[in-house]
Amino acid sequence: MRSKGIVVLLVLGFVPAAIGVGDSNLPSARGQQKASPRARPQPARYACPMHPEVTSKKHGNCPKCGMALRLVEDSAKASAAPPIEIAVNEAGDSFAFSSSRIPDLKVYDQNGNQLSFYRDLIKNKTVAINFIFTTCTTICPPLTATFRRVQQDLQKASLNVQLISVSVDPSTDTPERLRDFAARFKAGPGWTFVTGDQTEIESLLQALGVAVANRNDHTPMILVGNDVTGYWTRTYGLSPPTTLLKVITEAAHHK
């Protein structure tokens, strides 16, 4: 898969096209994830001088502006928050994601407890992650109400799934504010609302592929994954709860 045509991109600006109900991984992408250990040495990296988010492991031209990519000296910072890589083949875009992309950043839950995002919320679990902010009024209430229904249905089906709502506006969304928001939608145990320092949350959103410049543009996407098998997929968060339930159940039962 990682041949000539592969361009490694930040997902920024790329997600909307990739969203689809029940959108799932390419099998080959999945196989590749299994082979990738969590911490691996960074090979040579080339980046566009104008678009630093555009990087590649080979020489080539930037798909945005056509400039030749330049070799980047990998700093400690760059390896600490590796850009999420999207494999793009000639046929178009697809979704490749793995647990190894999820940084173990320091975050806070709605009760003010400090958590390690990967270790405490993702590791060895089936998870569904949506993205909200408490002052968002158009899509966040339906997103959250839908998540609440999904949580009830998962309980009925005795499926143990960790629900996560990450705030895309951490400077406003304090743990107290998230707790109030969670209570308004009657969020039950097993549903964690996540906020943190602006920089930490920003790199988390980058890594999860949902970073946007304007928070009102944040996508109603739900990231669904099974950390045990390394299966990840995305779905449209405003789909009916039954659709979401189906996608999450598939992830939970993935072998």
């Binding site: 158009t138 229904r149 996508t219």
Partner: protein
């Protein structure tokens, strides 16, 4: 189609049955449904998402959430809510949406179907993010009546060339003189503003009411005042002692209040968005004291004790102290409470000394504080004492000399915050409008509140609404009133100058000595 969606069925037209109320109150009720998702009748309103039976209370997803108070729609995450202004909905040649969806103009009946069944006049199904609502036929008619008005109605108190602002100022009792001073300076500020042309050609009209004999009576008076006088916003209101009555009322009535005079701001979540405080109250000042004590190694503070009269507001202060101790990495403080008006200093000191605290935070009245210090002096016990919230005047200089250097006060503002320009403006007003020479601190507070309100109104512009005022004030950053520390508000922040100064009491020279710079709590 479940029974939940049946509200729109079987209705014909919008004729008023005998005994039904007038259109004006019908539209007012409709606005409540549009903005809050609740019915004035108390009947339940539910929202249903998509084709599913996902039912939530209407208040979770009122129309205004997505379509906006102005009806123009608030696009988010690829969802573009329809423009609901009547002109847009009823274009004679029909409506074509950005998505390509087309339909003939809406009628009232068509809107009822859109709200209850999620279909447009062409029979297209609306996006599943648009909930289907169930509500009584009366509520539905009220809502549709309001939609005719949406985007054209103004908040109370606004007309083309006038804006009504209110204030609560006592005219009787011990606070009467202070109330009159506040009234005078507020009137002077807005008269001066009016003489310069007003705000976007609107002359500000000030209306005042007196406080009631009890907090409950003040609430009743204020509720009537808001309704009868149609005030747009309030400034510099005396709400001290009646915080629990007044603040929730302003939330319900959605009346902004800038700079209330109180030591006990109500800033717990869920935040009351309407009320903007100027300075830290006792809770914020106590936080600043704790933070100060922790930062000062020579105080060797590990063990805090808090002495407080029993009251609801003091429990909030105690909560703030516990929270600040946690933030500063210290263990919780021991609390010693007493019934207000029944302070037994010897008994409290006996209990206090058993836990041997390094620092005592004293929240009681100034009189109780003096009794406390005298009693401690008898047993030659001189802990560091923090007196929060201005609990004493110059009498504190008569405290036992053993406490020299051990007493600390908090002040939410200091004379150094007053700039030359700020003082010049105040003195010019005082001279021109013959302001009283007394209660200068209250006058400066009231003037600062009026300046913040004036600034907010100017920043909103001609197209004024309460919601826009709140949003603009939430964006205020380091606004210099010239009379207080710079004022900053935010979506979570309702204290303009969040912090305090700590001063030490020099009992020999009988003066306050600054012990800290501005302690910023943000």
């Amino acid at each position: 189609m479940g029974p939940a969606f049946s509200a729109g069925l079987g209705r014909s037209g919008l004729t008023l049955a005998p005994g039904q109320s007038s259109p004006a109150s019908r539209e007012r009720r409709g606005k409540q449904i549009y903005v809050q998702g609740t019915s004035a009748s108390g009947k339940e309103i539910f929202a249903y998402l998509g084709e599913s039976s996902l039912e939530v209370p209407g208040s979770t997803m009122p129309c205004a959430n997505c379509h906006g108070l102005d009806g123009l729609g608030k696009p988010e995450g690829g969802v573009n809510p329809t423009n609901l202004t009547w002109e847009a909905l009823t274009k004679p040649y029909g409506v074509t949406h950005a998505s390509g969806r087309r339909h003939p103009p809406y009628t009232e009946r068509g809107l009822e179907l859109a709200i209850t069944r999620g279909t447009d006049p062409a029979g297209n199904t609306l996006l599943n993010v648009m909930p289907r609502y169930s509500m009584s036929n009366e509520d539905l008619a009220d809502l549709v009546a309001y939609l005719r008005l949406l985007g054209k109605d103004r908040d109370p108190g606004i007309s083309e060339n006038k804006l009504v602002i209110g204030a609560i100022c006592p005219t009787k009792g011990s606070l009467a003189e202070m109330g009159q001073a506040v009234k005078a300076v507020t009137t002077a500020y807005f008269e001066e503003l009016n003489s310069q042309g007003g705000i976007y050609n609107r002359q500000v009209e000030m209306k005042f009411i007196d406080t009631g004999d009890t907090p409950a009576a003040t609430r009743v008076k204020l509720e009537r005042f808001i309704k009868e006088e149609q005030v747009f916003a309030l400034t510099a209101a005396f709400i001290a002692g009646a915080e629990k009555e007044i603040v929730p009322l302003l939330g319900q009535q959605e009346v902004p209040l800038i700079g209330p005079l109180t030591l006990y701001p109500q800033i717990d979540l869920p935040l009351n968005r309407q009320v903007f405080y100027l300075l830290s109250g006792v809770d914020g000042q106590a936080r600043a004291m704790i933070h100060f004590a922790v930062l000062k190694p020579e105080l060797r503070t590990q063990h805090f004790a808090v002495v407080l009269p029993q009251s609801e507001v003091n429990l909030e202060v105690l909560g703030a102290i516990a929270d600040q101790l946690r933030k500063d990495g210290l263990s919780a403080a021991k609390a010693f409470d007493y019934a207000a008006g029944h302070f037994d200093a010897a008994e409290i000191i006996g209990r206090l000394r058993q836990s041997s605290p390094d620092v005592v935070v004293f929240l009681g009245a100034g009189e109780d504080a003096r009794t406390f210090l005298a009693e401690a002096d008898k047993s030659r016990w001189y802990p560091t004492v923090f007196l929060a919230g201005g609990s004493g005047g110059r009498e504190i200089f008569d405290a036992p000399i053993g406490f020299n250097g051990k007493l600390f006060f908090s002040f939410p503002t200091a004379p150094a915050d007053q700039s030359a320009a700020g003082l010049k403006e105040f003195h010019a007003l005082a001279e021109k409008y013959k302001l009283p020479a007394r209660h200068l601190a209250a006058q400066i507070s009231a003037l600062s509140a009026a300046k913040i309100l004036g600034e907010g109104l100017k920043r909103v512009g001609k197209d004024l609404s309460r919601e826009k005022l709140i949003q603009v004030l939430e964006g205020l950053y380091e606004y210099p009133t010239g009379l207080t520390p710079a004022i900053t508000y935010g979506p979570n922040r309702r204290i303009g100058a969040l912090g305090a100064y700590i001063v030490n009491v020099d009992l020999k020279e009988k003066q306050f000595v600054p012990a800290s710079g501005w302690i910023n709590l943000n």
